[in-house]
């Protein structure tokens, strides 16, 4: 374990530096100073005095193409990591991930349906695929929650099993849709591998709303989440309304997950590996774990996406492949390095 404040400060600084740096990478190189100047000029009030000194095309590329993508990468990485931290806490299992109770398969069904039916709607700049994915993701979790309900209680083990059951069913439907989709097959598969390419500012804003709401609620219930790790009976004894807190936290984590999935498809491993790694660094206290996971997750996905869009440029790799390729071996390394069972 390292000093918690130090970790948080370092993670924030690293995120900022990486953010600026990766925005310069691409077919067109943009200087570090230029990026800072352009970003600064966009800041309301304070940025008023900053003008000129950079190429017009650079500004256009940065503002229209790179910034929305990199910002979205940070947000999605943060959302998935915070959601992962919450799920791991609720399930008292450090190996839980944001997709564990059906959010991913629900989203996949929505996306596959939208692609299959060639829905061409859009609302506030958000496409039908995203909207439908978001809704079905939430719907799937809602269904799982109600399937798992026993009287007034929702035991976490039942929740887990209901999640697995519904997920396999939905996956089968998605497979069927994919099989029948003909020339749209590639589209569905590509969506399921996850990608952040060509997303507009609308996606950034919508994800940002979910992220802010989610992290604030999660932070407010951080102490309750700590106590839930001691077991639900103990949590009751310590004055926690376990069922209510669980419900709120599940809803929060699910919205965070749905927002990520809706804007970028299924990106695996981030929500599992980031909270887990961060926990090794700052310990299991969610008051630290949640903000630290957000910062670390944001940086991780930002780096992964940069690799995805640059290694085989101009061909793009689905970012889900990159996260899994780096995440998998790293995770195994962590497991081996730890003395205890997790």
């Amino acid at each position: 374990m390292v000093n918690k404040t130090l970790y948080l400060t370092a993670a924030l600084i690293v995120l900022c530096l990486v953010f600026v740096a990766v925005n310069g990478i691409g077919a067109v190189k943009i200087e570090f100073k230029e990026i800072i100047a352009i970003i600064a000029s966009k800041v309301p009030v304070l940025g008023k005095g900053i003008t000129g000194g950079w190429k017009e095309t650079h500004e256009t590329i940065l503002v229209q193409v790179r910034l929305p993508r990199t910002l979205l990468a940070v947000l999605v990485g943060a959302c998935l990591s915070v959601a992962g931290a919450i799920y791991q806490g609720i399930f008292k299992n450090p190996l839980a991930d944001p997709y564990i109770i059906g959010a991913s398969s629900g989203a996949a069904l929505g996306a596959a349906l939208a692609i299959f039916l060639s829905l061409n709607l859009s609302f506030l700049g958000i496409g039908a695929v995203s909207m439908l994915a978001f809704l079905t993701s939430i719907l799937a979790v809602f269904l799982v929650y109600n399937m798992a309900r026993v009287g007034h209680r929702v035991p976490v083990l039942t929740l887990l099993l209901a999640g697995i059951a519904l997920s396999s069913f939905l996956s089968a439907v998605v497979s069927l849709l994919t099989y029948l989709s003909g020339d749209k097959l590639g589209h569905i598969i590509f969506w399921m591998m996850g990608s952040l390419s060509s997303r507009s500012w609308s996606y950034v804003y919508s994800t940002l709303v979910s992220f802010l709401a989610g992290i604030l609620i999660a932070f407010y219930y951080a102490r309750d989440l700590n106590i839930l790790l001691l077991g639900e009976d103990t949590a009751v004894h310590l004055g926690i309304e376990t069922e209510r807190v669980k419900k709120i936290l599940l809803a929060t984590a699910s919205i965070l997950t749905a927002a990520s999935v809706a804007s970028s498809g299924l990106i695996g491993f981030v929500g599992l590996i980031i909270p887990h790694t961060v926990r090794i660094a700052v310990g299991p206290d969610h008051r630290w774990l949640i903000p630290a996971s957000a910062l670390t997750g944001g940086t991780f996905l930002l780096l992964a996406d940069t690799i995805a869009r640059t290694v085989f440029a101009p061909t793009e790799l689905p970012v889900g492949i990159v996260t899994a390729m780096f995440g998998g071996p790293f995770f195994i390394y962590l497991l081996k390095k730890r003395k205890t069972s997790y």
């Binding site: 790790l229 009976d233 004894h237 309304e241």
Partner: protein, 431 residues
């Protein structure tokens, strides 16, 4: 002090239609140290769960300090009562201090930082549980005994007036068991903490608790002081296990000694024995007879006599006389009735004075009415006759009229075995 602090009003709980508690009623006063004992599945843990709001009873309710616990907010309830549940593994690397600080949650607002009072209470809790040195250690690295102390520290940090504990000493070595219970007892005495504890170990329960509840299949089988609850009869009936109850050599509380079921101890021999004893010399004989499965009655015994105490521990049917007083005519009549109900009258090798000579007279009358008599003559009668020969004379008369004389307990048991079939026959005839 005397007023009821926790009141459990006829609660019934069930898991999936299977009743676990049925109409349990009890009241606990402030500062009480109450133990809950009973076999596996008798509802001990469920009772703790019902009191601590984890499992809402289907019927009945629980009052704490005059208020219904189920109408309180979770935080309010947690400020009044703390619970140490059965140990469960924690997979996450919290430090000991972080865990104990969680005990302050009922006193804190969600986003507020720890106050000085919180830290002071945590420091105190760590100190009394002797875990201060573990403060920065990870909870996952502690031994069972250390972990249990930390969990108790967390409950103490909650700063409540009630502490519920569900088997706080299972999985612990004997030294740790005693340490934990000493700690709880100390808190009970010094802080006037009201303690309700589920214990598996009957001996520890009887040694540490002021009051005991014996649960059997979800009902209260017995309730009271340890000497009233931990009796041969209760334990045999509830645990269906042969035991001997003896006094603790130092504390005087009842202690349970287990016997193997395989040896057939305490199987019901269907034979009643009246034992004439007293003066504290027949304790071992009495124990052996009970142990062998005879239904034993005793008397007349002076209250306070060592044999009287033993007979009380075994819950024998008993005729008693006032301390250091002679056996009265009324005692004699009652004793004779006990003898008549017995199949055999056994006279232990006890000394006779003018005070207890009437016991021998009773034996004589019983023999006259056809009762079998066996005299245990470990020490010759002359040497224990303080009645100027009267006792010896009656003994001689008894022998003359067919009383059997044996020298030792072993011989007595052999004799009893020998006459068992004959006794059975006589009994079936009389019935």
């Amino acid at each position: 002090m005397a007023e009821t602090f926790i009141e459990v009003l006829g609660i019934s709980c069930s898991y999936a239609a299977e009743p676990v508690l049925e109409g349990v009623k009890l009241s606990v006063r402030k500062g009480d140290f109450l133990g809950i004992i009973g076999p596996n599945g008798s509802g001990k843990s469920t009772l703790i769960k019902a009191i601590s709001r984890v499992l809402k009873p289907a019927q009945g309710t629980v009052y704490l300090d005059g208020r219904e616990v189920y109408s309180m907010s979770p935080r309010e309830a947690a400020r009044l009562m703390a619970v140490v549940s059965q140990m469960t593994g924690i997979n996450f690397d919290f430090t000991v201090e972080e865990i104990v600080l969680m005990g302050r949650h009922p006193h804190a607002k969600n986003l507020r930082k720890e106050t000085r009072e919180d830290l002071a209470k945590v420091g105190w809790a760590l100190e009394v549980t002797k875990t201060s040195h573990l403060r920065k250690r990870l909870i996952t690295e502690l031994s069972g005994g250390e972990l249990q102390r930390v969990v108790i520290a967390r409950a103490l940090a909650q700063d409540t007036s009630v502490l519920l504990l569900d088997e706080p000493t299972s999985h612990l070595d004997i030294n740790h068991q005693v340490e934990i219970l000493d700690l709880i007892k100390e808190l009970n005495r010094n802080q006037n903490l009201t303690v309700i504890v589920v214990l598996h170990d009957l001996n520890l329960a009887s040694q540490y608790c002021d009051l005991l509840i014996l649960l059997n299949r979800g009902r209260i089988h017995a309730m009271g002081k340890p000497c009233e609850v931990v009796t041969q009869k209760n334990i045999r009936n509830v645990y269906r296990s042969p035991v001997i109850i003896k006094e603790h050599p130092v504390y005087g509380c009842p202690q349970v000694t287990l016997l193997s079921k395989r040896d057939g101890h305490l199987r019901d021999r269907g034979m009643k024995i009246h034992l004439v004893c007293g003066g504290g010399v027949a304790g071992l004989l009495m124990e052996r007879l009970v142990f062998e499965g005879f239904e034993v009655s005793a008397g007349t015994l002076n209250i306070g006599d060592a044999d009287w105490e033993k007979a009380r521990v075994f819950n024998l049917e008993l005729e008693e006389a006032a301390p250091f007083s002679p056996v009265t005519e009324k005692n004699l009549e009652s004793t004779l009735k006990l003898m008549e109900r017995a199949d055999v009258v056994v006279v232990a090798s006890i000394p006779y004075g003018h005070g207890n000579l009437k016991n021998l007279v009773a034996v004589k009358r019983a023999q006259e009415r056809g009762k079998r008599v066996i005299l245990v003559d470990g020490t010759p009668i002359r040497e224990r006759d303080y009645t100027g020969g009267k006792a010896s004379a009656i003994c001689a008369e008894l022998i003359e009229k067919g009383a059997v004389v044996v020298d030792s307990t072993v011989e007595l048991l052999a004799k009893l075995q020998e006459i068992e079939p004959a006794v059975r026959k006589t009994r079936s005839r009389t019935i």
